[in-house]
Symmetry: D2
Subunit: 308 residues, 4 copies
């Protein structure tokens, strides 16, 4: 498994009762695979992993691996606060067929560098599948130092990086420090995907890729072929579409709730999923906000049937 290309962090559709909406999730996975994505990431922040019970996490992962059916690698988020808790998720993910697990630094209790390194080493020793480092300081309150990522990569403790830090300077330092071993570096940025690829990134993991996988695939192909003007034009269109996340009123809900709710609203408007509800405590968009999302989509050339 050498990760590359477009690997969307799959949204988790829910029924109106708050259960995983398996039929919608199957449709979403099919939609992404038909578009040609190179992998699926189940249980990322975009997948509302932090809001799902262990049972729901298992339903999600088994659904995604079943639909993927070996066509592309499936990554599983193993997001939790401490090492032993992450290891339990890692073992469960391995049994459910994940091809790799995606683990953040410890959180809730902020730890030091030696502890973060010990955390990844313990997970890698206990897991049956490769470990991907997930650098997401906005959620865990800790930026993985580029030197630590490079050290763990050379040790073989981690086999790839998903960088959602927004810090392209650090991302480049990792690329430079791991170029000798071809360590796959994936960016989580929706709006710097072309630049990250120009800098040498191996792939992209954009939440917006749920809504418009074809756009990110065009961008990725253009970049791989050195057609940087085409990549930039596609990026600009996608960045316009990405403003759906600015629609919600963030004095009411948090900015991540706003983004996740907007992605789901857009997927419902596209007819891919049946319900746009989010997992508690995240609150979904208001009807007037959904209408604005539809308008932004139309501007970016993405069809929506309209709400309802």
């Amino acid at each position: 498994m050498r990760l590359h290309g477009v690997i969307p962090p799959v949204c988790t559709p829910l029924t109106d009762d708050g259960e995983v909406d398996v039929a919608s999730l199957e449709r979403l996975c099919g939609f992404l695979l038909d578009a040609g994505v190179h992998g699926l990431f189940a249980g990322g922040s975009t997948g509302e992993i932090g809001q799902l019970t262990d049972s729901a996490r298992a339903t999600v992962l088994s659904t995604v691996t079943r639909v993927a059916a070996g066509q592309v690698p499936v990554l599983a988020g193993v997001i939790d606060t401490g090492t032993q808790r992450v290891i339990e998720h890692a073992r469960a993910a391995g049994k459910l067929g994940a091809d790799g697990i995606v683990a953040t630094a410890p959180f809730y209790v902020r730890t030091g560098p030696a502890e973060v390194a010990a955390h990844y080493r313990a997970i890698a020793a206990a897991a049956d599948v490769p470990v991907i480092a997930y650098d997401i300081p906005s959620n865990v309150g800790y930026k993985l130092p580029s030197a630590l990522i490079a050290e763990l990569a050379h040790e073989g403790v981690i086999t790839a990086l998903k960088d959602s830090s927004g810090d392209l300077e650090s991302f480049r330092r990792v690329l430079a420090a791991t170029g000798d071993i071809g360590f796959p570096c994936l960016t989580g940025s929706e709006t710097l995907a072309d630049l990250a690829l120009a800098a040498g990134a191996h792939g992209v993991v954009p939440g917006l890729g749920n809504v418009d996988p074809h756009g990110y695939l065009r961008l990725y192909d253009a970049a791989r072929n050195g057609q940087w003007n085409a990549a930039r034009a596609e990026q600009q269109r996608l960045s316009g579409l990405f403003t759906i996340i600015e629609v919600p009123d963030t004095t009411r809900i948090g900015p991540i709730s706003a983004a996740l709710g907007a992605f789901k609203a857009a997927l419902k408007l596209r007819g891919v999923i049946a319900h746009a509800g989010t997992a508690p405590p995240l609150l979904p968009l208001l009807p007037a906000e959904v209408d604005k999302v539809a308008a932004v989509m139309a501007d970016a050339g993405i069809p929506g049937k309209g709400r309802k």
Copy 2:
């Protein structure tokens, strides 16, 4: 249950294999009860709740409730990222005999005020036991607004507050806004306990109370009797003892690891627990650091047998 007095957040002793050391935990609970504490809080941050598996959490809580045997209320931390996950912990805690559950704001995904309120309302609706709000911005990245705490208190959604924010101004606003309903407000501060009580706090939940419960009980009794000079003198001695948390090298481990490791080292030196190990990824103190802890303890009049 009207919470008040000294309610230590009980440390979780571990065996050298990383399992819950039930015998040591029993001794620790006995030590605290013998000292006269007014309650026990199992599974707080001090109890390394974030680093324990669900199975280990259950072992801890069932041990603490068994030893407490109804003499004092037992509170259970239900620390997790999202609402449904917290509710699962809350139900488990109810079955294991907790008299109340202690819940933080959602974390990992940062949410807005309406979502935090919805979070607490959903937990209270689903739980069989009273909900105590746990305000710990250093760990969850969100300060519970004093107005929201007061609103949820008046609604009956939360029945008490544990304030580990270090923000005595906000704590006082809660006290002022809930004085009419006698809402119990407990401070988590080790070094401002006397002042918090002078401001009207109903009790204290100090991590250092594991190491020196008698000191906090003397402080509490002095404050209740209006003997403020005596309370202050006791506080000064305890604040000196609390410098054990400054002993570890925090370029190696995080400041919370430092505190938890120091508490456990001190408890082992006192002969209360058998091992001073911490739960991964937290790293324990180095031998030279343990010696320094022993010296600080001696200065504060706390006997330690010395490291063995």
Copy 3:
């Protein structure tokens, strides 16, 4: 000069043209002196020092020293980004009759502990008057470590502390570490004044003391006489009055602008100053906000003639 008691950070009234309103400033100083304050602090954050030109700063300081006329010590803020700039302000302040200068850590460029120490040592060596350390991390992005404050105090580099950090734990560590030399520690907190005094603080420097100096003087006297219940009752009334700073809409202006504008609005309502304008870029309160300030004042027993 042994600083103690109530030392308000004097507001800077401005004319409608944005010049220092000397007549209003004289009335304000007279109002404070008549109330019995123990000192005057010209050019604090409350005095909008950061928004005043050097010429305006000089007008303010010369006015305050003239009105004080040696009855009480006058402190002068020497707020600037780098050491040499602060030294220039310090020398000017000495020439204008300041009895002490109040200096923050360097800001704009964030420096390390050795540089902060060098900063204070250089100022003390160059200034003709004693240096007071001003700990205000919200404005300068750096918390003065309690150990560094104590070290500089013992060296004689700084002769007092004004603590506007809101961190009472750190404040207490300074008190404990400097008790042997009687180092004056003043709190800038409006709402924890009684508790800070209970902890051993030597005085208070509350911005709200411009609006209600008599209240803080009653509080201080009660505390000095060990009448803690009276001190607490007065504190509660003052904390209610302090909610005038929550009146403005902080999506429009910053929280400090809100506080400074509210203080000035209240002083105009009391008839002490002629205009309530703030120094650019700070925006003053809107008329409807001034009406709400008047209502809060009435609740706290402070008369206002009403806006005119």
Copy 4:
């Protein structure tokens, strides 16, 4: 004046007495002009503007404008806390021949968006020369919102942007929102210069450009000619050179002190300036650190005579 190209923020050499070393500053300006830079920025953060007195600022600016002699535009930093103070600097800079002034958001007192907008409007109204917005949240604690920058650009209040935020996503939003008016957007990033240019930036303002202006000019020319592989290769070499800022021990001095000290050490090693001292409170590099800087320079192909 349409800003573009490579515009280094000129370092301020000092004598051992702490005075501006005019002869060295002349040599540095000559070195940069000979290399072919498109402008000079006097009094940026790299120029230690925050640590210089007004008198020293004037010496710097008059020296730079004298050496530039109209060959390239000279920008002057007008860094201060409040509007009137900035306006005084702006007027002085205009008199000394600056072609534009570079102003940050207000700082020390954190203000709201309406106040930041008012700040820039007041400066533009009072200044005789065009205003460039300087977005540097690490120093002022406030990120200029991309929508506000675009609004002020369309109003004509600001005529260019220097972006030192490190936030390439926001930088791109400004580029997209101002493409219709050709608003010059310059990046302050040393290590993302090629990517910023690929994204449409009009120029670069790298502190490291003092040390290796030829490298940034090669990079800029390659980018302008669409030779992205060449631009990236040059960027990689420069990013390697930029690790001189990681040499100093940042438990002793701050990270900005480390960078400024390293730039000056490198300029002395190159023989451009005579002394490597920094302005108080910034502390310079230790001798052993200078040796390491020399080694990094050698790896990047930059000759240094060796220390002393």
